[in-house]
Symmetry: C2
Subunit: 163 residues, 2 copies
């Protein structure tokens, strides 16, 4: 577009990918922002807190800090502060492991489970509303393409790591 002489066939593909990425980012930011502000307004909480509770509930038993970090896709340093605040609010418990003195086991408390249950239906309804403009088949196509994109990104990461 700005390149004068036509860098070649790849120019249009490149711009396509960049534009697509910016569009994707803007759409997810839009959704994420709305979820965040509704969580704040309706439940006086934040998205990371909600995510921690949801992951702990889904995990069932106790989860190590590292495992939580992987599941949330955030750094382990971050997980320390995150659970710290949730422990302070009594929504989560953190106990040393009996078998490995390096690790802590994080669990959702009954209060945490109550809080999560109070939020889940609303949360699901917001998402549903926001995606309502897409038909079921469009959602299926989108899901497949996003899955493929994710594989593509992971492949590109592997390729770079190998060099």
């Amino acid at each position: 577009m700005r390149g004068a002489s036509g860098i070649g066939r790849r120019t249009s593909a490149n711009s396509d990918a960049l534009r697509l990425w910016l569009r994707l980012l803007s759409a997810t930011n839009l959704i994420e922002g709305r979820v965040r502000s509704r969580l704040r307004r309706d439940f006086a909480t934040t998205l990371p807190r909600f995510d921690v509770l949801a992951q702990l509930e889904q995990a069932g038993g106790g989860v190590t800090m590292s495992e939580l970090s992987r599941r949330l896709m955030v750094s382990n340093g971050n997980v320390t502060g995150l659970t710290e605040r949730l422990v302070r609010e009594r929504l989560v418990s953190r106990t040393p492991s009996l078998t490995d003195r390096r690790t802590q086991l994080v669990r959702i408390t009954p209060a945490g489970r109550r809080a999560l249950r109070a939020m889940t239906p609303g949360h699901r309804a917001w998402i549903d509303d926001m995606f309502a403009g897409l038909s079921a088949s469009e959602r299926a196509t989108l899901a497949a393409l996003v899955a493929k994109l994710k594989r593509s990104v992971e492949a590109s990461a592997l390729q770079e790591a190998a060099s």
Copy 2:
């Protein structure tokens, strides 16, 4: 839309939307994280800084703080600190408007333009690599669906604002 009667049929659609959303979020987080760490590693900068420079370059002339806030889709308060740091690094200038004493005009400096030009090709190549697993037609389909999703989200926002 939240009406009572059709909970039966809508259940699976709901889970679909939620799963799709989580997948979308995880894919964008993956890409964003890679862009962020490469910007840090190769250019010793951050994504928000890059975004500010790119927006200012694209804007051409001076841009008010509010306009920058809208373009970046971040809060006003955030823009203050962001430009603050970039001004300190001499990549951006900030001058009071002559016609409206409430506003500041932010501009990219020659040094900022140089820095941006140094980063742009690499940035575009990363994105291109990460999207390489999708064919041109898949990218086009994805772009169209994301655009439609965005409209859907905006419609849902309007609808809520009206109530």
